[in-house]
């Protein structure tokens, strides 16, 4: 039992590490032009690194539909499909 659990934990850890270092999905690398990847930057634009995946998805969908207003995100969100948004959100959620 013990060793199974340890192995499971090790597996999960490795899987998370793999996801975190994986190549960013299409479009994800461009977000950090405004959403700082470095914690040292002072910006009103929030960091996406480590954010809840569902929150990112909802915000993007709302910007795209017009349910949420923005200065620029509405124009950007309209360039992404649901599948792309899901992939970008998952990738950022897994980043540390």
């Amino acid at each position: 039992m013990r060793s199974t659990l340890a192995a499971a934990i090790a597996y999960v850890t490795i899987a998370a590490a793999t996801v975190a270092s994986a190549e960013p999905p299409a479009g994800a690398a461009a977000c950090s032009g405004c959403h700082p990847s470095s914690a040292r930057v002072q910006s009103p634009v929030v960091r996406l690194v480590g954010r809840d995946r569902a929150e990112i998805v909802k915000a993007m969908q709302d910007f795209r539909s017009g349910a949420r207003a923005g200065t620029v995100m509405d124009r950007i969100a309209k360039g992404f499909t649901d599948a792309e948004i899901q992939a970008i959100a998952a990738w950022y959620a897994a980043q540390r």
Partner: protein, 424 residues
């Protein structure tokens, strides 16, 4: 000078050692693929860092002659007296700390078949893949009368640094009531909204400091980026002060005379107290030397990998590249750099790069507290980078003043973010 010389020597020794190793080189360097990046601007510095992040086994060498990079975005605010040039300057210490070898010198030639870059001292750097990110060069001679000596009288200030300060000093030294003339080039050129942001911030300076003066923009085009937003703001903020003369109304400058500060158009002459000539441009000259520039002076690329369509193994990013619908901006340069780095990392590992999506956003200040933007999302379509249908566009024309204020704040935040990603 001392530091420069030391770096130079270190590099020469390293390069000589690599060359001298000859056949043993392959084993000596078996630790990882070698990628050389030429140019440490927004494109090159971002790409070098993204390469190290994508795969730390890649040995990245960045070739850049300047110890300090001087950024163009927000340099119009320096010209308008709203900001100091020191806020535009960035060093490469943190780039080097990422494990990137920096060769502080100029690349002078490329052997695309032999896969090596020649440096100013004659040393050769072998590479597995090369990324060229040299930005722009001025096309001296394309505008009769405008050569390097003329730029000392009529600054272009289209590469930031001494030219930026010269234009600012000329404006500060001008008597109230003087005529300032900006000449804007035909497409394509670095930063499509740049001449109009500059006109705005010079108008702001004149309005507050020398209100009897006048500013004329002579344009080689009939339309420009964010035109309706700029013109609406000019009518509101600078009525009677700023006049834009399009191509069809005689805006095309056909020659200049630096000694008399005169700009000649098809329709007449303008004698300026201060003249800012934004001349025709081309890719940085190493692009031509490497055989990656076409007859337009710019570099055709594959939109998935940014590999040159003219030379295998050489990628071109930033202002030098022909990036379809993407403008020549620092934002685009950074966005392209990250896509190119991912593609190069995949290619040197023997994989197939995936199809990218890119973003651009250019903020412009019409006044210190009045910002507007143009945004776009791009994907490869028919061999070119094209707009994703339905995405992007400019700030709404009916936005309240609060939104303009917010965009001015966001513009500055963008500058901090992008310069930290590239240099910080």
């Amino acid at each position: 000078m001392k530091a420069t010389r030391r770096h130079f020597l270190e590099l020469s020794v390293a390069a000589a050692a690599t060359v001298a190793l000859g056949p043993r080189r392959a084993r000596a360097q078996a630790s990882g693929p070698r990628v050389v990046v030429v140019g440490g601007g927004f494109a090159g510095a971002s790409c070098a860092r993204a390469l190290r992040q994508a795969d730390p086994r890649i040995a990245v060498m960045l070739v850049e002659p300047n110890a300090t990079f001087t950024a163009c975005p927000f340099s119009n605010a320096v010209i308008g007296g709203l900001r100091e040039l020191s806020a535009q300057r960035f060093t490469y210490e943190r780039v080097a700390a990422d494990g990137i070898t920096i060769a502080r010198t100029t690349a002078t030639a490329v052997d695309a078949q032999g896969k090596s870059v020649t440096l100013a001292d004659g040393a050769r750097l072998p590479y597995d893949r090369l990324v060229l990110a040299p930005g722009i060069d001025i096309k001296w001679g394309a505008l009769p009368g405008y050569d390097e000596a003329a730029a000392g009288q009529m600054p272009h200030a289209w590469r930031a640094g001494e030219q930026t300060l010269l234009l600012r000093r000329q404006l500060e030294g001008m008597d109230d009531g003087g005529l300032v003339v900006i000449s804007a080039p035909a497409n394509p050129f670095r930063c499509p909204p740049g001449p109009y942001e500059r006109a705005s911030l010079i108008a702001h300076f004149l309005k507050t400091k020398k209100p009897k003066s006048k500013l004329i923009v002579l344009d080689a085009k009939d339309a420009f980026s964010k035109q309706r937003l700029f013109q609406a703001a000019w009518a509101e903020l600078y009525p009677g002060l700023l006049e834009w003369v399009p191509l069809s109304k005689g805006g095309n400058v056909t020659s200049v005379h630096a000694a008399t500060s005169t700009l000649v158009t098809d329709f007449g002459k303008h004698q300026a107290k201060v003249a800012n000539v934004i001349p025709p441009q081309k890719a940085g000259r190493i692009a031509e030397a490497a055989g990656v520039a076409d007859r337009s002076g710019w570099c055709p690329i594959d939109p998935v990998t940014f590999e040159s369509k003219l030379q295998a193994g050489i990628h071109v990013i930033g202002d030098a590249a022909i990036a379809g619908a993407m403008p020549k901006s620092a934002f685009a340069a950074n966005s392209q750099a990250k896509v190119c780095a991912a593609a190069v990392a995949t290619l040197v590992a023997g994989g197939t790069p995936s199809v990218p999506k890119l973003i651009n956003t250019c903020y412009s200040l019409v006044a210190p507290d009045y910002g507007i933007s143009v945004a776009g999302v791009y994907q490869p379509t028919g061999g070119q980078l094209a707009d994703v249908p339905g995405s992007g566009g400019v700030s709404p024309s009916d936005a309240p003043r609060e939104a303009r204020k917010a965009e001015a704040v966001l513009a500055e935040a963008w500058f901090r973010t992008i310069t930290t990603e590239a240099f910080g």
